[in-house]
């Protein structure tokens, strides 16, 4: 809203957190995909990915995607259910089809995958993700 540079500096820092979030999403997406440039569908709104969309191969429908990143699990279109679902809230993991999530909890950002859900989808994450994998 504000054009002026000093406030631009503030927004730059704010943008910094979106950029870092997009970097984390990028690492996660590449880790869970068998593809080097997987097709991503956002349901319904993830600011960090939308802001840095050039990093991602975004598509406009679930049918065309490899991975669906969720901001909500409410009324997920049925055509998305066969895709890899990844959440952005801890509560999204209550849906058994969601393989993992990147979320804020207890004042800190967290990444969590459930081992059996990864195995069910034949996903083998590299060792840097070991500490973020738990048994359900």
């Amino acid at each position: 809203m504000k054009i002026f540079l000093i406030l631009f500096l503030v927004s730059t820092i704010y943008a910094g957190d979106l950029k870092l979030a997009s970097n984390i999403f990028e690492k996660i997406i590449l880790a869970i995909s068998h593809d080097t440039k997987p097709k991503i569908y956002i349901y319904t709104h993830i600011e960090a990915i939308e802001e840095y969309s050039e990093k991602f191969n975004l598509v406009n429908s679930c049918e065309d995607s490899d991975i669906v990143i969720l901001s909500s699990v409410k009324k997920i279109p049925s055509r998305c259910s066969s895709k890899l679902l990844f959440g952005t809230r801890y509560k999204h993991l209550k849906n058994k089809k969601v393989i993992g999530a990147f979320f804020w909890q207890k004042g800190r950002p967290n990444i969590l995958f459930y081992r059996d859900r990864l195995e069910k989808n034949n996903i083998k994450l590299d060792s840097s993700f070991d500490k973020y994998i738990e048994n359900e």
């Binding site: 809203m1 406030l7 801890y90 950002p109 840097s128």
Partner: protein, 632 residues
């Protein structure tokens, strides 16, 4: 020794995290909510981020106020926060305004809520912004010299819960819990606290003076994208130290209070229209007992044995603010209304010898309606220059014997920014209406008190590099019609101007990954209206603060030194803390405050006639605290 060394090295192991760990750590710091709420152009800003508050182990707002630029933490004679205290006046910080999120915490009588919340525990606070230098008008309905904005934790970052227990010196103990959750359509945050703060006792004239305080608090908020509802309840059961009366030392003195606030906030038109409502109900219960009757001059001396008073206050505030962004102009307009009611007439004295009934009717009022309007235009002249013009106006409609008051404020701000260099200049001229306690206090009140006027210029220059920040703040100002006590003990407008000059030099150095060194030296020169020829009081404050993270340990060291203060010419307060992250969810902390017991002291009048007698106590006491936090 070897075993200790191995154990220590073991705790350092997590220092070497993976790239993903570091990315998450960087993301946590960059996501601090202060980045989204602070407004650099609104004044000379000091920010304490979530990371700062946690690593400094900030337990109460007092821990921040004691190292505030140009000022320091002080209490009034009833052991309540009053950073501009001018004893024997019971309160002098009426222009320091405090907000929790977008709701002003206030009492109807004092105007500012610092008196009730100045040492509030900070366990439910995410971050703090302090604006000095007559900040922007769009913060509130009335003008301010200092604005303290506290932002509560929320489900956005704190989904889940935390319990905390603490034990400390003299039997101090604290327990609190919070829980936050985000549902599909709404989110909520609930917090409950019980804090029993025990302090040292002070003997004077054969009596023991106490400053212990028990605080109970509930805060809850529930919100969706558009609307927010907040409920805040605070109960305080406290010793009142010397009490408000002058002339003797109480055998016991207590001041209990109950504060209830319900507030709503709504956003419309893409968040460009904000509508806020807030209702505050507050009761205070004062009780003083004297073994040796207090000699109160009314005007003949009488011996007071007991004093009891109930004070009832309420305030309702409604505000509408609209923002436009038109061709480089950020225009904001606000219409605000505040209703205040107060009743101080429920009191009882018992005397050794009852005084003759008063034949004079004391002038008073008990209701005040404030109508306020502001307009502000922030003009982006180009990418480097911002001009800010603000005008605010209030009309105080007071009932009974009090006349109406009209006040206005004007503020001109200019900000220049190029690369690492930022310069901010603020010129303001503000009128402050007298708060009700100054007009109707039976001790020193003056219903004819006029608005006082402050004119000031502030200049801030900062130079920010990746690892270092240099900052210089300086300015000058003068007060017209400043409220002061006259020889008869009545508050009156000073007939001469009171001038002040101030300067602060600050340096921040960030080294290694998360370590930070902060140095600050500031000076405040201000004319003393009670001294002959308005002699200058020269006060100097120095702060050195070091924050380190080594493995699982957060280590905090702080030295706050003062010189030139009337009650103690030089003093220093060294505090330190260690926080150990046993697991991600279990944290154990140790903190020592004023460890060498050499902090600033403050004197309070016990007697003025026939001879002056004072009681002197430290503003910050030596104490140690041990805490355990568990996140779930």
């Amino acid at each position: 020794m070897k075993v200790l060394y191995i154990l220590f090295m073991f705790t350092l192991l997590p220092l070497f995290g993976s790239e993903l760990d570091m990315l998450l750590d960087d993301y946590k710091l960059a996501s601090d909510l202060s980045q989204k709420t602070k407004d650099e152009s609104a004044g000379n800003l000091i920010v304490y981020t979530r990371d700062d508050l946690e690593r400094m182990q900030v337990e109460s707002l007092k821990d921040i106020l004691k190292s505030l630029r140009f000022f320091t933490y002080t209490e009034n004679r009833m052991a309540q926060t009053d950073i501009f205290n001018g004893d024997p006046l019971s309160y002098y910080s009426q222009t320091v305004r405090i907000y929790l999120n977008n709701t002003e915490l206030l009492t109807s009588l004092t105007g500012s809520g610092l008196i009730l919340f100045g040492d509030m525990e900070m366990d439910f606070i995410d971050h703090v912004e302090i604006y000095e230098g007559f900040p922007s008008f769009d913060f509130g309905i009335e003008p301010a010299t200092v604005v303290i904005r506290l932002y509560s934790k929320s489900a956005a970052h704190d989904e889940g819960g935390r319990v905390k227990v603490q034990f400390g010196s003299y039997g101090t103990n604290k327990q609190n819990v919070y829980y936050a959750s985000k549902e599909e359509e709404y989110e909520y945050f609930f917090y409950a606290n019980r804090n029993d703060e025990k302090k040292d006792e002070y003997q004077h004239d054969g009596e023991i003076l106490k400053r212990d305080k028990r605080t109970e608090r509930f805060y809850g908020s529930i919100n969706n994208e558009q609307h927010k509802l907040e409920l805040h309840v605070q109960k305080i059961y406290a010793d009142a130290f010397l009490g408000s009366l002058i002339g003797g030392v109480p055998t016991s003195s207590t001041i209990d209070s109950e504060f209830i606030n319900i507030a709503t906030e709504s956003k419309f038109m893409n968040d460009s229209l904000l509508v806020n409502f807030s209702y505050i109900d507050e009761e205070e219960d004062l009780a003083y007992r004297y073994n040796t009757p207090l000699v109160l001059y009314t005007p003949a001396p009488v011996g007071v044995k007991t004093f009891d008073q109930m004070i009832y206050q309420e305030a309702f505030t409604a505000s509408v603010k609209k923002y436009w962004d038109i061709d480089g102009h950020d225009i904001s307009i606000g219409l605000q209304y505040r209703y205040k009611h107060f009743d101080i007439n429920d009191y009882t004295f018992t005397y050794l010898v009852p005084p003759a009934p008063s034949t004079q009717d004391r002038k008073t009022y008990d209701t005040q309606n404030i109508y306020s309007f502001f307009i502000q235009d922030e003009i982006s002249l180009n990418d480097n220059n911002l001009l800010s013009l603000s005008f605010m106006n209030q009309y105080y409609d007071r009932n009974k014997d009090a006349s109406h008051i009209h006040t206005s404020q004007f503020r001109l701000g200019y900000t220049y920014s190029k690369d690492e260099f930022v310069s901010k200049t603020f010129i303001s001229r503000q009128e402050f209406a007298p708060e009700p306690y100054m007009a109707i206090s039976p001790d020193y009140g003056n219903i004819d008190l006029e608005a006082d006027r402050y004119t000031s210029i502030y200049q801030e220059i900062s130079y920010t590099l990746p690892q270092t920040i240099y900052r210089l703040v300086f300015g000058a100002g003068y007060n017209e019609k400043l409220p002061i006590l006259n020889d008869l003990g009545q508050i009156v407008n000073d007939t001469s101007n009171v001038d002040g000059y101030f300067a602060s030099l600050e340096f921040t150095y960030k080294f290694r990954d998360k370590d930070k060194l902060e140095l600050q030296a500031n000076a405040l020169y201000i004319e003393d209206p009670y001294a002959s020829s308005y002699a200058l009081v020269r006060q100097y404050n120095y702060v050195a603060r070091l924050l380190n993270t080594i493995g699982r340990y957060d280590i905090f060291n702080e030295l706050v030194a003062h010189s030139g203060y009337i009650d103690r010419s030089s003093s220093y307060d060294y505090s330190m803390g260690i926080k150990y992250e046993a697991t991600k969810d279990l944290h154990i902390s140790f903190k020592g405050e004023n460890l060498f017991n050499d902090s600033l002291e403050k004197s309070y009048f016990n007697k003025i006639v026939p001879t002056v007698d004072k009681v002197t106590v430290p503003t910050i006491e030596k104490r140690v605290l041990f805490s355990v936090e568990y996140l779930f």
